[in-house]
Subunit: 447 residues, 3 copies
């Protein structure tokens, strides 16, 4: 499964009878919800997804850029509510819980790595093995019997394509490759990596926006679009009962779980009629970039472009192929806490020579991809993500939203994630288990 050879994948996925069956079933279940909201007063078919406020547990997540973690300068990050200290020592990478077992001090406040593979707490000299988190020794209590005992959490850390990944989960981690979106490791593609940015919205609102077939409208206000005068659709609508035909689900195989949609399958709209009331005339509204263009011209314009394919992959990454031009890109929406998402965005270009590749990593990628795409186009996605946060955070949005037909793809996404999640993250798992707290009354009874 790669995104660089889309047709083949599409064939494979839609070719399987089983996959189509799954897709139809998902669509049916969620269409039923969308069309008859009143019957769902007391539950949602994707309850697991709603409960995954802090993300899904048991996956690899990108947590930093390679270039931001240099030897001798450990960096703290927070993902899925977990505070992790990343440490690079020579050619080794480590990640440990950023919280001393002793009294909870954060190593990152004054990071001290005094030997090849240890981290020492700045407060009381407790020293931990960076690999397994065990207590190696305590400088000011050399004979302590705590040496060798379990200490802090240690994270599996891997580095690929300029990004550092951490496994957030329990037990032995699965292979990182299984959690990477298809095509990411293609050797002839070079990535320009944008600055990581924080979005003030829950990760699900951020992720859903990426795949949302009805969200295109917002890009009419993207600086890039305004400057270029390019037409942007209002969104597209699948034919009723054929929503599942738009999307290819990958529910089996060695690759990550996810699905894709190719833009050409849908119907794009550039104008709409707002009916007048009480005998007043209708209003025809045309997307700004479409004004002065006939439908034939618009159609020709889009037919002449390479097909754009958008993918969503567990745990939280979307891929985009052939946008802009022949570039490909990925955007991880990594949960930081309940109300914050870290966006990791990379733009890939197929490079023929090492020189071309170096140029793309630097100034060229910045000018040709980062500024126009991230700063001048994706900026509107963040606007939208943040724009619905209050409703979902404070106003019971997950139970109060009122969906419409294009949302079937959103609800299919939710149902898919709910069906396939390895686990969900909870605050208790994120912060660490604590001993049971009892009141002094109970305590005295237990003397």
């Amino acid at each position: 499964v790669t995104i660089t050879e889309p047709q083949k994948d599409l064939d494979v996925a839609t070719g399987a009878e089983g996959a189509i069956e799954i897709e139809r079933e998902l669509a049916d279940q969620t269409r039923d919800y969308v069309e008859r909201p009143e019957r769902d007063l007391r539950r949602r078919p994707w309850q697991t997804y709603i409960d995954a406020e802090l993300g899904m547990r048991g996956y690899w997540y990108p947590v930093a850029r390679s270039k931001d973690l240099v030897d001798g300068s450990p960096q703290p990050v927070k993902v899925l509510g977990e505070e992790i200290l990343l440490v690079r020592k020579g050619d080794k990478l480590y990640g440990v819980e950023d919280r001393c077992l002793h009294r909870g001090a954060r190593f990152s406040a004054r990071p001290l790595s005094l030997s090849e593979d240890t981290i020492t707490c700045w407060y009381h000299t407790w020293t931990y093995d960076l690999e397994d988190g065990r207590i190696r020794c305590i400088l000011n209590d050399p004979d302590s019997n705590l040496a060798g005992k379990p200490g802090i959490r240690a994270y599996a850390i891997e580095e690929r394509r300029g990004l550092i990944f951490a496994y957030i989960g329990d037990g032995e981690p699965p292979a990182l490759e299984g959690d990477l979106p298809p095509g990411l490791l293609d050797e002839d593609v070079t990535y320009h990596i944008a600055e990581l940015r924080m979005i003030g919205a829950n990760w699900r609102l951020a992720l859903e926006n990426s795949f949302d077939p009805g969200h295109h409208f917002i890009h009419n206000w993207s600086p890039l679009v305004i400057e270029s005068g390019f037409p942007i659709t209002f969104g597209y609508v699948a034919k009723k009962g054929e929503e599942h035909m738009m999307v290819d689900y990958h529910v089996e195989g060695p690759g990550p779980l996810g699905f894709t949609r190719t833009t050409k399958e849908g119907e794009y709209l550039f104008e709409a009629t707002i009916p007048g009331k009480d005998g007043k005339p209708d209003t025809l509204y045309k997307a700004p970039g479409a004004v002065g263009r006939t439908n034939e011209e618009l159609d020709a314009l889009f037919q002449g472009m390479p097909p754009i394919r958008i993918g969503i992959w567990m745990p939280c990454v979307n891929s985009i192929e052939n946008f802009p031009g022949t570039l490909t890109g990925y955007e991880w929406l990594v949960p930081v806490d309940e109300n914050t998402t870290m966006c990791v965005t990379i733009g890939g270009k197929r490079c023929a020579t090492p020189e071309e590749s170096e140029a793309w990593k630097g100034e060229q990628g910045h000018i040709e991809w980062k500024v126009p795409v991230v700063d001048k186009f994706i900026v509107d996605d963040d606007f939208a993500r943040v724009g619905v946060q209050k409703f979902y955070e404070d106003e019971d949005g997950w139970y109060r939203e009122r969906m419409y037909r294009p949302d079937i793809e959103i609800t299919m996404l939710r149902k898919f994630f709910a069906n396939n999640a390895r686990g969900i993250q909870t605050r208790e798992k994120a912060v660490g288990s604590s001993r049971r707290r009892v009141s002094s009354e109970t305590a005295s009874e237990n003397k």
Copy 2:
């Protein structure tokens, strides 16, 4: 009932035996509370008023100045916890819930009114009728069966005297005129409207201050008073058992419910004796502006001034007549949320010609009324309002306050409001009803 002909109204109101009876009863009930606080441990005679933390439901409120709402530039406002988008289209005014039914986006983030009487959500093109809030159409789902269905709340909106009013309540709104304080619509009076300002206090603390017969003391520190050297009383005290004679209640008739107090009825104090303890001498303290003036001089000074009459009208406006000079004014204390009040202050002058009227609306009203009265005098009222907020917000003030005799007028106000309130606002009503939320446990039982 108008405030521009005070004596007549006073006559009418106090002349009615029924009204006097009501006033005596209110005074007796509240006096009992003030004098025997220990018996009221478990309840207050004005419980409805205490419960009206977000204001009273079922009334018209001023929400913006006419000049701040121009065609093509919708404005969001928040009153009684409700977020409203105000829209002016030609000679029509609209107000709708600032929250899309679909996924809760705020229209105001990027307001789009694409036809004469609709608002379109910037996220997914849901388009609503500005008049009744129904879904008119959805641009990217033209055949949606949601068209014509109920959508968002629509508010009744009216414009009077340079202010825009919204009805916050359920069902058919009553006539706006019934909720306007007497005299407001007098045609020969022109208003200068101050900038709307936010006060960091609950609306009841703001409103009570306006009518409080014991609050005068704070104005000894108003810049206007300090600059002018004018004497300010410590407050006044009604004779015991005659508190109800100070106030005229309007509990019937076409006008709004409320009451007035004329300053001359009370006894004003400009000096007081602080007794010494343990044989030490007493201290005579005289209000700063009264120093160097005899009681006769002070008396003559006040007798020579036009009588000031202060009114309180439901839902939350006070009127002041003959202050300063022959000006009249109104001050609405509009609940924004539990801890914030929007103050709408206007100063009225009787103008003989259109030129005089225009001048008053502009620079003249600014210089002669806004700066001295709002900026240099009312500033102390805001100081007082904010100064007790913490006690009522965090320290159980509504149940812990310890009242004294001049507070009988405050408690009468509370009792009056509690008796006459059409309804009270709750957070649930303000934010909107949500579907019942259940845990995933309950949900799975209901499969």
Copy 3:
């Protein structure tokens, strides 16, 4: 008991068989906890201490510097969650609750003391006796029967050595001297008093740091230490089973309850070996200031210095003797609220003449003690105190911490405080008792 003649006190305290017994018992109890944490899942041996989140009730606390409270300028302070207005009138000092009984206004917002021994509320002229808090009179209700009635809390206030102390507790206060650390009143010692500073940590985390035998490590990063190149130990370890020999407890007698530790009794470490894993070599880490010095040199350096003795005294003050040089000092960690501690730090010098004394109070004390000790050394203590606050505030630290052997002195401190506390402060006691609040439903049942 004085800290200026340490050896004698040490003799007295450790000479008593009873005291040694108490110390051994405390050590045994807490050692047991440290070594077998699993058996303490449901309780802590120092539960009272854990419950004392806002401090201990029934003690004198320093609340301000004498020089910050001048006649005519009352000052608000907050200690143990209580808001107090301090007032100096001639040679008298007062402290009253900063909250009017009437409607909860803070006097400090506009402090008015209109007679020799009263405070008047700026809002409604309620006037209180500064000595006992009773209502003296109400300026605008001269005949009020509230005159003479109980009003607001009045605090016992005393002034010693440039500091103002308030008694936070119920009933008749004990003698202030009993709550002052030993030596504080020595007449030949003059104090330079640092600016009071707020620390963003709970008072217990702040206090424990001062006595913590394992905290020395942090001072390797103190600017003073870095500049001077002076060696700082990693902490010290008592011999197992002899932890109680390090500390002298004062549990009886006229002085305050507390205990001391003399540095020479412990073993100091300036280097430690971090074992290598999987056959890799060990790493020897030496404290920065110790590099280039032999153990003999380090030993000689420390043996040549006067012995440093550190004391902890209830309710929350530590003393330090012979640091730096022959200076002595005290540091109160006064609870402000649950997450904030006010640090009152003074540095004492034995002065032979009044001139010497005056110089020390001013520029000399600033240059020789305040800048190097408070600004360049204690700064690291605050770093450590704040560094563990999150764990204890948000992550259940009091029940989740995992202690090691040097912590036996911390746990002995906790147990000692828990055993001897006169009382603990609660939020309800701090803010004041309120009448019982009932819902309107309950209220109507009680009509």
